[in-house]
C-alpha cells in the first residue's frame, strides 16, 4: 500500500512537472543565448540558426539621405556624411572580427517607396512606406530620425532611442532577407533632455546591429547588477558581452575596452564561420576556436534540462575571457498540437490557434544541448540561472520567462581546448526534482513494454546495480 501511495505521489509530481513544462514551453517562441532565431520544422532549416546568406555577402543596406541628428530649430548636429560614417563604423565592429565571415555594404540611399519619393525620410508616413518595403524584402533601410519626429508620429514614447532587427525571413533556406534600423538623433543633439554620450549611443546601436546580424542576448558576469551603475569592475566589464540585455555598466569603449567581448566574437564566428580559404584579414574559425559541448541533465542522468545558462571561463582569466550559451538553445518545447483545433480534420492556421512555434527544432535530443566556441586554452564550465528579470524584450535563451536552475552543479575541473577540437562534457545537476515526461521515457520504450514510468524505475535500478 505504501509503495502504491509512493507511486501515486510520483505520478502526481510527474503531472505537475508536465503541467509546469507545458506552461513554460508553450509560451516560448525559440530564441537562444546565441542565435536570435532557429529554424523550425516547417520554417527555415530545423535546428539551424537564421543567418544572412553567407554566399551573398556583404549584407546590403541603404541609408537615409538626411542628417543623423538635428535640433528642434533645424540646426544640423550630425550631418548625413557623419551619420553614414557612424553606421559604417558600427557595422565594422562586427565585420572586423577576423573569424567571422560577415560583411556589410552601404549600397546607397534608401529607395523610394511610394508615397516616399526620396530625400530624408523625416515623417512617420514616409517611414511607414519604407518599412513596408523592408517587410517586402525590397531593401534593408537604416533610418535617421534626426529630431525624433518620426518616432513621435508613430506614437512611440520619448524614451525610445531606436529599434532594429530583421524584417523578412526566407522560410525555405533559413535566411534573413531584409532588416531595418531606426536611430533617434534626438539623443545626440546636445540640446534635448536625456542626452547620451557618443560612446553610449554607439554602444547601444552596436548591440542592435548584433541583433540585426542574428545574435541574441548573452549573460556573463551578471554579478555586475549588484554593483553601482556605470562603475563596473574592469575585469567584469571586459567579460561582459556587448549583447548583455541591460546597459548597466559604462560603455565598453569608454573604459578602453574593445567594443566586443570574447562572447560576442565567439558567437558571431559561430553564426558566420570562416571556412575554406580565408580572404585577406580573415582567419579560419576552426584554426582559432575549439568547442566544448554536451548536455545539461537532471540528477537522473537521463532527463535533459533546458534554459540553463552555461559559461566556460578561461583558467587564469575567468572574468575576462568567458563564453556562454543557454542549454536547449536550438529546441522548442512548443511543437503545437491539433487536438483542440476547431476543425481537427483540417488543421490550418485558420482553424487552429495552437500550431506551436514556427521556430526551434522539435528534436528532443536537443533539449539540454549546449555548445560553446572557445579560443584555445584551459577552461572550467559552470552553470547558473538566467536572471529572472530577463524576460520579454530583454529575454535571454529559449524560455520566457526563464527558470531557475533545477539543481546545483560544482564547476568542472579545467579542460584543455585546442583549435579545431571538440571536448564533450555533460553536466549532471545535483539535487534536482525527480523527473518524468514523454521525452525521457522515449529512450526506454520497447514494444509491449510496461508503462514507461515503471520501466524507468527498472532502468535506474539496473543502472545502480551495474
Amino acid at each position: 500500500m505504501k509503495r502504491l501511495l509512493n507511486r501515486c505521489r510520483s505520478i502526481g509530481r510527474a503531472a505537475a512537472a508536465l503541467t509546469t513544462c507545458g506552461l513554460l514551453l508553450c509560451q516560448s517562441p525559440v530564441q537562444a543565448g546565441g542565435p536570435i532565431r532557429v529554424g523550425g520544422a516547417t520554417f527555415g532549416i530545423q535546428g539551424q540558426p537564421f543567418v544572412w546568406d553567407p554566399a551573398a555577402m556583404p549584407v546590403k543596406y541603404r541609408v537615409d539621405p538626411g542628417p543623423l541628428s538635428k535640433r528642434p530649430d533645424g540646426t544640423v548636429v550630425i550631418d548625413h556624411a557623419a551619420g553614414v560614417a557612424r553606421v559604417k563604423s558600427l557595422f565594422d565592429t562586427w565585420q572586423n572580427v577576423p573569424t567571422a565571415a560577415i560583411s556589410y555594404g552601404n549600397i546607397g540611399d534608401i529607395l523610394p517607396a511610394p508615397p516616399y519619393t526620396g530625400g530624408p525620410v523625416g515623417t512617420a508616413q514616409n517611414f511607414i512606406a519604407v518599412f513596408a518595403s523592408c517587410d517586402a524584402g525590397t531593401q534593408s533601410p537604416i533610418i535617421f530620425d534626426a529630431d525624433g519626429s518620426i518616432f513621435g508620429g508613430l506614437g512611440l514614447p520619448r524614451g525610445v532611442i531606436g529599434f532594429a532587427g530583421a524584417c523578412k525571413l526566407d522560410p525555405v533556406n533559413g535566411r534573413f532577407v531584409s532588416g531595418l534600423a531606426a536611430l533617434n538623433g534626438r539623443f545626440q543633439d546636445g540640446f534635448s533632455a536625456s542626452q547620451l554620450t557618443a560612446a553610449e549611443f554607439d554602444h547601444a546601436f552596436a548591440h542592435e546591429f548584433g541583433h540585426f546580424s542574428g545574435l541574441d542576448h548573452s549573460q556573463i558576469n551578471v554579478n555586475v547588477l549588484s554593483g553601482q551603475p556605470r562603475a563596473c569592475n574592469l575585469d567584469d566589464l571586459a567579460g561582459l558581452p556587448l549583447m548583455f540585455p541591460i546597459l548597466f555598466c559604462q560603455a565598453r569603449s569608454a573604459a578602453g575596452l574593445p567594443v566586443l567581448a570574447p562572447d560576442d566574437m565567439a558567437w558571431i564566428s559561430r553564426l558566420y564561420p570562416v571556412t575554406g580559404s580565408p580572404p585577406p584579414g580573415k582567419t579560419l574559425t576552426s584554426s582559432a576556436y575549439g568547442t566544448i559541448s554536451g548536455k545539461v541533465l537532471f540528477t537522473d542522468g537521463i532527463t535533459q534540462a533546458q534554459g540553463v545558462n552555461v559559461i566556460a571561463r578561461q583558467v587564469g582569466s575567468p572574468r575576462t575571457i568567458a563564453v556562454s550559451v543557454v542549454s536547449g538553445y536550438l529546441f522548442t518545447g512548443n511543437p503545437g498540437q491539433t487536438v483542440t483545433c476547431l476543425d481537427p480534420s483540417n488543421p490550418t492556421t485558420a482553424t487552429c490557434a495552437n500550431l506551436g512555434s514556427r521556430f526551434g527544432s522539435h528534436n528532443p535530443a536537443l533539449i539540454g544541448q549546449y555548445e560553446i566556441l572557445l579560443p584555445p586554452g584551459n577552461y572550467t564550465v559552470e552553470v547558473e540561472s538566467v536572471f529572472a528579470a530577463f524576460a520579454g524584450g530583454s529575454r535571454l535563451g529559449p524560455l520566457d520567462p526563464p527558470i531557475p536552475v533545477p539543481g546545483t552543479f560544482a564547476n568542472t575541473g579545467p579542460m584543455s581546448v585546442s583549435a579545431g577540437a571538440m571536448v564533450v562534457q555533460d553536466i549532471t545537476l545535483q539535487g534536482t526534482p525527480q523527473r518524468f515526461d514523454a521525452f525521457e521515457s522515449a529512450a526506454l520504450q520497447a514494444p509491449a513494454a510496461p508503462m514507461a514510468w515503471l520501466r524507468r524505475e527498472e532502468f535506474l535500478t539496473e543502472k545502480r546495480r551495474a
Binding site: 512617420a124 514614447p157 529599434f163 532594429a164 547588477l225 528579470a389 524576460a391 530583454s394
Partner: protein
C-alpha cells in the same frame, strides 16, 4: 525585428542587491509564471525612466482587464500593421476614460504580429498610455516600462510587474518626491527609499501613481 529592450539601470544602491538578487528572482519567477509569458514590444532601445517620468509622460493611466487584442491594418495606412487593444476599465488613475478604453499601437517586430505583443483577453493590466499621435497611434510610456501585469503573488496579494522586472522604477524617486513636497506614508517611503527589483504590491503602486499624478 529582433528581440531587444536595452535598459540602462542607473543608481541602484546596490550592495544589498547581491543578497536580494536570488530572492527577488525567485519571487519574480513565481509572479511571471502566474502572469504568463511577458513578450512585449521587442527590438526597441529605451531609456530607463522612473515612475515619476512615466506618470508625467502618460496622458491616461487605467487599470482593467483586456477584452480584446488583435493585429489589424491601420484604417488609413493599409500597409501598416497595428495592434488594437481594448480594456474594460476598472479604475482610472490619470486622465479621463469611459468604461472601455481602446488604443492602437505601432508594432514593428514580426513576432509581435503573431502573438499580439503579449496582450490577451482576460489579462489584468495597469497601463500608462501616452497621448495618441496624429495617426491615432499610442504606446505605454517607456514602452515595456509603462505596462504592468497584475497577478497574485504566492501569498494571494495583487502585485504589479513590468517587463523590466520593475528595475529602475523607483530610481531617484524619493528625492524627486521630496522636492515636490509629496508626503509619503512610511510603507511607501520604504518602498521608494530602498527599491529592489521585482513585483510591487498593486495598492502601493496605485497610491504612488495617484500621488505623482496629483502633484503635477
Amino acid at each position: 525585428m529582433s528581440v531587444h529592450t536595452f535598459i540602462a539601470v542607473r543608481g541602484w544602491t546596490a550592495s544589498r542587491l547581491r543578497k536580494q538578487l536570488f530572492q527577488a528572482g525567485c519571487v519574480l519567477l513565481l509572479v511571471v509564471l502566474a502572469a504568463g509569458s511577458l513578450p512585449a514590444q521587442r527590438g526597441a532601445i529605451t531609456l530607463p525612466q522612473n515612475l515619476d517620468k512615466l506618470v508625467e509622460e502618460a496622458a491616461i493611466i487605467v487599470r482593467g482587464h483586456v477584452v480584446s487584442a488583435g493585429v489589424e491594418p491601420h484604417p488609413e495606412l493599409a500597409n501598416l500593421s497595428t495592434l488594437v487593444v481594448t480594456l474594460r476599465v476598472e479604475e482610472t488613475l490619470k486622465g479621463q476614460a469611459s468604461s472601455t478604453f481602446t488604443f492602437r499601437q505601432f508594432i514593428w517586430d514580426v513576432r509581435d504580429r503573431f502573438d499580439d505583443a503579449g496582450y490577451y483577453k482576460g489579462q489584468h493590466l495597469l497601463l500608462l498610455m501616452i497621448k495618441p499621435s496624429a495617426l491615432g497611434l499610442s504606446s505605454p510610456a517607456g514602452l515595456e516600462q509603462g505596462r504592468f501585469r497584475i497577478v497574485r503573488n504566492p501569498e494571494g496579494n495583487l502585485v504589479a510587474v513590468n517587463s523590466h522586472g520593475n528595475a529602475g522604477l523607483f530610481h531617484e524617486l524619493a528625492p524627486q518626491l521630496r522636492a515636490k513636497g509629496v508626503p509619503l506614508a512610511p510603507r511607501l517611503a520604504a518602498l521608494v527609499e530602498q527599491p529592489t527589483p521585482g513585483p510591487v504590491p498593486l495598492d502601493d503602486l496605485r497610491k504612488l501613481i495617484r500621488l505623482l499624478a496629483g502633484s503635477k
